[in-house]
Structure formats: structure tokens, C-alpha cells
């Protein structure tokens, strides 16, 4: 049963990473325009740098 001592922390940490990633997507405003996001995947030249073509 010693394996549990490894597996339990691993499962909790993995869950924590998932949660942090989800929280980041929320704070980053990735749910602000769900219709637009699903459409943008079809664009070949979608600009991921809204700050300008040769942005920072």
C-alpha cells in the first residue's frame, strides 16, 4: 500500500495543475467571446498578436 503515498499526492497535484490552468483561462478572458473563438480556428491568417503585426 506504500504506492498510495506516491499516487495520492500525484493525483492531487495533477488536479491542482488542471485547476490552475482553468483559472488562468478564466482570468485571461478566454470565455469572453465563445462564438468568435470557435470561428477564429478557421482563419488561416488569424493574428494572435493584436498589438500589431510585429508586436512584442
Amino acid at each position: 500500500m506504500n504506492i498510495l503515498l506516491v499516487l495520492i499526492p500525484v493525483s492531487i497535484i495533477l488536479g491542482g495543475i488542471g485547476l490552475c490552468a482553468a483559472l488562468w483561462t478564466v482570468r485571461n478572458g478566454q470565455y469572453d467571446d465563445d462564438a468568435g473563438t470557435s470561428a477564429r480556428i478557421l482563419l488561416d491568417d488569424d493574428d494572435n498578436h493584436p498589438d500589431g503585426p510585429d508586436g512584442p
Partner: protein, 718 residues
């Protein structure tokens, strides 16, 4: 994001954000793009704006149908022209009226949804181990870890329910959130007690999945409301918020909010008067359809009263303000609307009515189970366990999802068809109506949208077409709309638009002019055409029937509703329209107050009335009706009073609105029935003391998913 983070993903976030920031933090100009709908539109709009010198960044938001632009040198007019050339309609939005685009309430719900989701996944993982037979020390360890994860998660994520339940309890009422909060808290508390006493059953996963599913319902609800709300704000932000103030003869653009009583204001052609005032110019011709329902232009002479909301149809005129802002007649109507709305606020939503039956029944059932087991079995702990199992298994989560899932799907469907549902209970109320009252001017008809051009011969038509084509003024468009399509325009040279007067050019006959009667030197007021030295020909403006009006009335009648017209206009204007549309029940010359009184009388007779109107004279009636619809061209006050705004120009989809509303109510009730059916099977099991955490988890997820799937059927309503 400057805070230090404890996890790798958060630490990596700022870097990723720099690479792919999807937001413009402080846009200089926001434009509304009502016609965009696909990926191609996004690309075209962004490309045409970014290639414009002076624009540093442009980002389209497809959900809100807006584009945010960062520019230091360009004005909104330049951007609108650019987009029009690219084939997109654009309107500048007033940012002081607009919300900032961020949605703190929605973000808070999403954060809670994420926390409860991940906590549920982890706890469920341990629960599977327990259900598969983990025993003794292992089980206790898993229970302890589950408790450590779920207790903080439940307390954090359940806040929206606890707050709502508390506010209901404080005024001694029960709402849906009371049994929800009780189930969540008791499940978590009871499980903690069990774990500390080395018990076998813990409901941590049930408490978390309850929270998770309910938060899904809450978030769906919030999102559909916000979409409607922000679109309603867009409409408000489109209103004219600047005026031309005259100081020592110079016109200066100022915000309407900065105008004072006594200011002289210039009203250009086609613009709405922003204040109440007296006319300083010799004469003016205005459209008062919004205020009174009259379809003809009103001519006033120097010194006459002009009211906020009138639209200048003639030459520019000057007004001296006598009332501004909240003191104008326009705004005072808002007070009347508010009083009328109070009667509607007493309407109880379907979900609350269900909660009123459900909450006491469940509490009573759990209490009876507790007493029964305590008396018969004599074991308080066992009795409490059964009572908690009953509370969990009666599954408030299917009930909490039943209505929001249906209304979100319905509102999204209606939004794609051009309906903006502003009120949460609008669809339920709409489904109950049996009579439709239409206002005439501006609702069934579009005033001053067509000129009478029957008197023109072929040559005159060709000249009128050539002149009207060269201008975007509403009158030119009305003339163009009346001319037979496909004819060749006359060949003219040197066509120029004379601001506020008309269009002129040179032809073989000499000077040709299309413009206001006074400019042409004729004795009529409205637009006219003059060719060479011949006398000017009057082209009076008339109203046209709104697109889809006939379809809408036939469709609504087929659905069993009784259509009627109630108008402030003359009987001679109402009768032909009513005959054409086949509406027997018609009333003309009805004032705003009379409309309101008539609706109240109908309500007393037991009728539920759907009011469709656009004017200031309709606002009180819209608020007093059981449900109300306004076209997007309606006055601010009317749009605010209405439950639903039609965003496109046609009325043809009104019957669809009705069938979706009825289907939404039907599906909500079906959802309640499904939830009740699950309870019918699961409650006896729980009462018998045979409910296990596994059974609770299965019953909860399956009933929630069934309810969600049933709600999606609204997409197929025709």
C-alpha cells in the same frame, strides 16, 4: 497578471499571455457591427481596419458583435466609412453608456465552476476506490482526504446559493436555493461527522457534484442574461449623445448631458431633438410619430413648443432649450413606465412556483424520515443519515437545471433569429398571452419611408433616380424606394448635395433639384423635384407596411391569438392598413393614457395581452401588458419598457417567438416531471435507508443529464 503563483501553469501564464493576448485593454473606439456572423466576417473586418494607416490594433468580438479599435489619430467616422466600403454596417457606440466588456460576475461563477469541477473529479476518484471495496484504514484515509478537499470547496463554491437562500429566509420566504443550500451543507456536515466517527458512508462527492451541476445551471442563466443585457446596452449606446450648441453663432459639438436650459441648439436634418424647447427658427417640420403615433409630418412655426424625441424632417432649425435631461417629457414618461412595471414584478416565475411546492415537501419528507427512523430504530445517527440521504436524493440539481437550461437554449435560439429577450420571465409570460395589440405607426408601418412618385413621368423618374442615388439622406432613400426598380437613371453632371436642403445637378434641361419644398421655392413643405424652369412637383412621404407584418399576423392568428390594432393616428390612416392586414379589431386616436387604461380593462376581463409597440405613447402600455415586444427602431423609453426587442426590421418571425416561448414553458414543465419521476423511484429507496453514496451519485448525474438533453430539444421548434 503580476501576482506570484504557486503552480507552474500560473507561473507560465504571463508569458503565454504576452504571446497571445486576446484582449485590447483600452480600446479608443468601439463600433457595433450588427451584420457580422462568421469567421470570414471577422477576418475581413480586422484586415480592413488593420491595413488602415493610424490603426494600431483591431479585435472583433463575435458574441457581442463589436469591434474594439486602438487608434490615436483616426475618428470613428473614418472607421465607419472604411467598414462600409468593406461591406459591413458599423455604428459607433458611446463608451460611457457601454459596459467595459469584462464580466466580473460571470468570471466569479466560472472560477467557482472550475474549483467545484476539479474538486469533484478528485473526490470522485477516491470515492470509486471506496465503492470498489477499500476498507478500514485505507477507507478512512480516503475519506479524510476527500473531506480536506471538499469542505473548503463546498464553502467557497456554494456561496451564490447560500447568499440567495439567506436573503429569502430573511424575509421569511422559501426559494429554490433554500433546499439546495440545506442539501449541500447537510451532506458535507453529515459526512464530516461520519468520517470523524469512522462511519462507512460519506457523501462528499454528492455535495460537490450537486454544487457543480447547480453552478452549471447558474452560469448558463447568467450568460444568456448577459448577452441580452449587453445587446440592450448597445442599443442605448447607439442613441445620439451629442448636440450642436450655438454660441455666438458658432456651432459647437457638446454632449447632451452638458446642455443647459436656455442654450440655443441647432438640429440638423434627420436628427432627433435632444431637449424640450421653443423653436427659434421661422418654421420646422418634424416627425412626432414616436410621441403621438401621427404618421404625417408636423409643421410648427417660430415660438412653438418642440419636444425631445421629435425628428427633424425639413431644413435644419434652432431650438432654445426649456427642459433638459431628466426634466424632458421623454424622461418623465419613464416614471410612468416604472409604476406600470410594478404590477408585472408581482408575476411569479415558473421555477419559483415549483420551489414553493418542492421546498416544503422535501423538508417535510426528510423530517418525517428522521422522526420515523428515530422512533422505530431508536438510533439518532442512523435517522439523521437517512434524512440527509433523502435530501440529497430528491435531487434539487435537476430542478435547479430544469428552467435555466431551457431558457438559455431558447434565448440563444431567439437571439440568432434577431430577438433580444430582456426579462427572465418574458418567455413564460409570452406563452400565456391570448391577444396581440399592435401599435400602427412605427410598428406595423415604417413612417416616412416612401415618397409618392406616381405623378412623375418617365423622364422625371429617371432624373429623380439619378439625384436620389447620389445621397444617403433618408428622404433620398424614400424616393428611391418608391421608384420602379431597374430603370436607368438620367445622365447628370456636377451633382452636389446641399446640406440640409437637397441634391442638385445639371442635365440637358438645365438645373435639376431634389429637396425640400422651401428650397425649391414651392408652396409645399415636404420633399419635391424641380427640373429646369418647370414648377416643382411635390413628392410627399408616406408610410409603408413593415416587412413580414402580414406573415406575422396570419401566423399569430393560426396559433390562436387575436390580433388588434390600437393606434394614436387618425381613423382614416388606420382603416386601410387594418383592412389590408385583415384585422377586424381596430381603434384610432387613442392617447397614451387611454392605451394604458384599455390594457388594464382587458386584464381585468381575464385577457392576457401581448403589446407590440415602439413609441413614447406605447411605453406605459408596453410596461402594463402581460408581455411586450418593441422593434429596435423604437424610442429608448419604449425599448426599456418592452420585454423583448426585435433586432431585425421584419416582423415575420413573431410567430416563431411565440412557438419558442410556448415550447420553453412546455419543456420546463416536462423537466420538472422528469425530475419528479426520478424522485418517485429514488425516494422510497432513501426512505428505506438503502441509499448509498453510489446510488446518490448515479441518480444525480443521470437526472441532470436527462434534463439538459431535454432542454436542447428547443432548437428544433419550428
Amino acid at each position: 497578471m503580476t501576482t506570484l503563483s504557486a503552480c507552474p501553469a500560473c507561473a507560465a501564464a504571463p508569458m503565454a499571455e504576452r504571446i497571445a493576448s486576446p484582449r485590447l485593454e483600452t480600446p479608443d473606439i468601439i463600433l457595433s457591427l450588427p451584420t457580422i456572423h462568421c469567421a470570414g466576417c471577422i477576418a475581413a473586418v480586422e484586415r480592413s481596419l488593420r491595413t488602415l494607416p493610424g490603426v494600431t490594433a483591431a479585435r472583433v468580438n463575435l458574441s457581442l458583435k463589436r469591434v474594439s479599435v486602438q487608434t490615436e489619430t483616426l475618428t470613428d467616422a473614418a472607421l465607419v466609412t472604411r467598414l462600409r466600403d468593406a461591406g459591413y454596417e458599423a455604428h459607433p457606440l458611446d463608451r460611457s453608456v457601454l459596459d467595459t466588456g469584462t464580466d466580473p460576475e460571470g468570471q466569479r461563477l466560472l472560477v467557482k465552476l472550475a474549483v467545484s469541477g476539479f474538486a469533484m473529479m478528485n473526490v470522485m476518484l477516491f470515492s470509486v476506490a471506496i465503492w470498489s471495496g477499500a476498507a478500514d484504514a485505507t477507507r478512512e484515509l480516503f475519506h479524510m482526504i476527500s473531506a480536506a478537499i471538499s469542505l473548503p470547496a463546498v464553502l467557497f463554491c456554494g456561496q451564490p446559493f447560500f447568499a440567495s437562500a439567506w436573503s429569502a429566509l430573511r424575509v421569511r420566504r422559501l426559494n429554490m436555493d433554500v433546499p439546495i443550500s440545506l442539501a449541500i451543507l447537510l451532506a458535507a456536515g453529515m459526512s464530516l461527522y461520519e468520517v470523524l466517527n469512522h462511519g462507512r458512508h460519506a457523501y462528499f462527492d454528492a455535495a460537490l457534484s450537486l454544487t457543480f451541476f447547480l453552478l452549471v445551471g447558474r452560469y448558463l442563466d447568467h450568460r444568456s442574461r448577459r448577452a441580452a443585457h449587453s445587446a440592450a446596452r448597445d442599443l442605448a449606446a447607439l442613441e445620439v449623445h451629442s448636440a450642436l450648441r450655438l454660441t455666438q453663432g458658432n456651432a459647437q459639438t457638446v454632449a447632451v448631458s452638458e446642455l443647459n436650459v436656455g442654450d440655443a441648439i441647432l438640429i440638423p436634418t434627420g436628427v432627433r431633438v435632444p431637449v424640450d424647447g421653443t423653436l427659434l427658427s421661422l418654421e420646422a417640420s418634424t416627425d412626432r410619430a414616436f410621441l403621438t403615433g401621427e404618421s404625417d409630418a408636423v409643421r410648427s412655426l417660430m415660438g412653438a413648443e418642440v419636444q425631445a424625441g421629435e425628428i427633424n424632417l425639413g431644413a435644419p432649425f434652432k431650438v432654445q432649450a426649456t427642459a433638459v435631461g431628466a426634466d424632458t417629457t421623454l424622461r418623465r414618461v419613464a416614471a410612468m413606465v416604472e409604476i406600470a412595471e410594478n404590477s408585472r414584478n408581482s408575476y411569479t416565475a415558473l421555477a419559483d412556483r415549483a420551489a414553493a411546492i418542492y421546498a416544503p415537501a422535501v423538508h417535510l419528507l426528510a423530517f418525517v424520515a428522521f422522526i420515523g427512523w428515530a422512533v422505530i430504530g431508536g438510533d439518532i445517527r442512523q435517522a439523521l443519515n437517512v434524512a440527509v440521504a433523502v435530501l440529497i436524493i430528491t435531487c434539487p440539481c435537476a430542478l435547479g437545471l430544469a428552467v435555466p437550461a431551457v431558457s438559455t437554449a431558447a434565448i440563444a435560439r431567439l437571439y440568432s433569429k434577431g430577438f433580444l429577450v430582456k426579462s427572465g420571465t418574458a418567455l413564460e409570460r409570452l406563452a400565456e398571452t391570448d391577444t396581440v395589440m399592435f401599435d400602427k405607426t412605427g410598428t406595423l408601418t415604417i413612417p416616412a419611408s416612401k415618397a409618392v412618385t406616381d405623378v412623375l413621368n418617365t423622364r422625371q423618374q429617371a432624373v429623380a433616380r439619378a439625384l436620389a442615388q447620389s445621397s444617403t439622406h433618408p428622404v433620398s432613400r424614400a424616393v428611391l424606394a418608391a421608384l420602379p426598380a431597374g430603370d436607368e437613371p438620367a445622365v447628370l453632371s456636377g451633382v452636389v448635395e446641399v446640406a440640409g436642403r437637397g441634391v442638385e445637378g445639371l442635365s440637358t434641361e438645365g438645373l435639376v433639384q431634389l429637396g425640400s419644398g422651401t428650397w425649391l421655392g414651392a408652396d409645399f413643405d415636404g420633399p419635391g423635384l424641380r427640373i429646369g424652369c418647370a414648377p416643382a412637383i411635390a413628392l410627399p412621404l408616406t408610410e409603408t407596411v413593415r416587412a413580414g407584418a402580414q406573415t406575422a399576423i396570419d401566423g399569430l392568428r393560426a396559433q390562436g391569438l387575436r390580433p388588434a390594432i390600437i393606434s394614436g393616428d387618425r381613423l382614416s390612416a388606420v382603416t386601410p392598413l387594418a383592412n389590408a392586414l385583415g384585422i377586424e379589431d381596430r381603434q384610432a386616436g387613442i392617447s397614451a393614457t387611454e392605451k394604458h387604461v384599455q390594457l388594464q380593462t382587458l386584464a381585468r376581463e381575464g385577457h392576457r395581452v401581448l403589446m407590440v409597440g415602439d413609441g413614447l405613447n406605447d411605453a406605459a402600455a408596453l410596461a402594463a401588458a402581460h408581455a411586450s415586444v418593441a422593434p429596435s427602431s423604437a424610442l429608448d423609453a419604449a425599448r426599456n419598457a418592452a420585454d423583448i426587442v426585435i433586432l431585425n426590421d421584419s416582423l415575420a418571425e413573431l410567430p416563431l417567438l411565440m412557438s419558442v416561448a410556448r415550447a420553453a414553458t412546455r419543456l420546463s414543465k416536462q423537466n420538472f416531471a422528469i425530475a419528479a419521476l426520478y424522485n418517485l423511484i429514488a425516494v422510497p429507496v432513501a426512505l428505506a435507508g438503502m441509499a448509498t453514496p453510489l446510488l446518490a451519485a448515479i441518480a444525480m448525474s443521470v437526472s441532470s443529464l436527462t434534463v439538459l438533453a431535454n432542454a436542447m430539444r428547443i432548437r428544433r421548434v419550428k
